[in-house]
């Protein structure tokens, strides 16, 4: 049981970024995606979340989830933090709590955002904004966490908070897929190595218009 990826391929702008990726992450385990810049780590996470068109199978507990099931099971933290600069920290988090179904109290406390809860988000530092983005993971229970470079801009306290949250989630039977360059302090149960060359050997379409490269 858990997350299983089979023969996943994904193209961006007419180029195959991922080709025939396959791995499985059982419940309660952490998978770490590694690879040089441009190897397709972010694309793989977006494909898993259903945010990028792809071929192949992404199964959860042996079934391919539809959109509703995905939104119940998955939480995605990309490198954009989805923070509105005009709203305060608390308002930002309350909005996502309402949308995802949860309460912001614990999320605020875990990532040390209580002191800056009333601050407009445009005054936040990069690290504070990242903490606000990550705190969304704790708002509503989602079994599968997809984290894209979650440690960028975090200080040591926030890093510890993230580690604690990841460990706790894994202990509770959650699945975590992390794309990262540096060490994040949790042992990788599953390692997925992506290389920049493997996929780029094949061109999907030489016509950039058909391939969508024009946007």
């Amino acid at each position: 049981m858990g997350l299983r990826v089979d023969a996943l391929s994904c193209a961006r702008g007419g180029r195959l970024v991922l080709r025939d990726i396959g791995f499985a992450v059982p419940d309660g385990e952490v998978a770490i995606l590694r690879g040089p810049n441009g190897a397709g780590k972010s694309t793989l996470l977006r494909a898993l979340a259903g945010l990028a068109p792809h071929s192949g199978r992404v199964e959860i507990d042996g079934r391919v989830p539809d959109r509703d099931a995905r939104s119940e099971l998955m939480a995605y933290a990309g490198h954009l933090d989805a923070v509105k600069p005009q709203l305060t920290v608390a308002e930002n988090l309350q909005f996502w709590a309402d949308v995802l179904g949860g309460t912001p109290g614990q999320a605020l406390a875990t990532f040390g955002l209580e002191r800056i809860a009333d601050r407009p988000a445009h005054l936040l530092s990069a690290g504070q904004r990242r903490r606000l983005g990550l705190s969304r993971l704790l708002l509503a229970p989602r079994r599968i966490w997809l984290l894209d470079e979650p440690t960028v801009a975090l200080d040591s306290d926030a890093l510890l908070a993230l580690l604690g949250a990841v460990r706790e989630h894994a202990a509770a039977g959650g699945v975590i897929v992390v794309a990262t360059h540096g060490p994040i302090g949790v042992p990788a149960d599953v390692r997925v190595e992506l290389s920049a060359e493997a996929a780029h050997a094949a061109e999907v379409s030489s016509d950039p218009f058909l391939a969508g490269a024009w946007t």
Partner: protein, 221 residues
Amino acid sequence: MSAARAVLARELALALRSGGGAGLGLAFFLTAVLLVPFGSGPEPERLATVAVGTLWVAALLASLLSLDRLFQADAEDGTLDQLALAPLPLEALVALKATGHWLTTGLPLVIAAPILGVTLSLAPASMPWLVASLALGTPALSFLGAVGAAITVGVRRGGLLLSILVLPLYVPTLIFGARAATAASTGADPLPALVLTGGLTLFVLAGAPFAAAAALRVNLR
């Protein structure tokens, strides 16, 4: 608070705070309409003949003005990705955002129109019909605009493409909406044109969320 109410409340809060688009459409509407007498001459009879057309065209362009940021702002800061993964259907998201756009752009125009109508010596008989046709027609402008905004969400400086896509679709609403108000001043029956304006809006309200949601899905990558 439910997800739908949260999205609508946030749309209104963002539009009304600094950097939001709420004042933009209204300010453009006021300026455009108030400049017309300088261009066409201040004679009341001449102004009266162009009043309805001016008000409708200005309203149409004003509602177009803030549309290009409707989904683009959310796409740029990652909010759209998160909302695409949220339990709220994309169709509902589109409908809520278009409703928010109408409440902050279309509705102020409807309220300001009678005052500007007076400055353009609009025939008193036309006034209620102008307000009614704007009230019935402007929601279609926001919802059609949402389709265009969803199609151009990935295009930088997509405002030009958006206007080219959306303006032709605005034409039926403009024709029937303006027709209802002019018919009242010439003694013709304004009701058929008004009913057609409302019918067009209902059609757009029903179809646009699905079209825009499909376009957003294509643009997620």
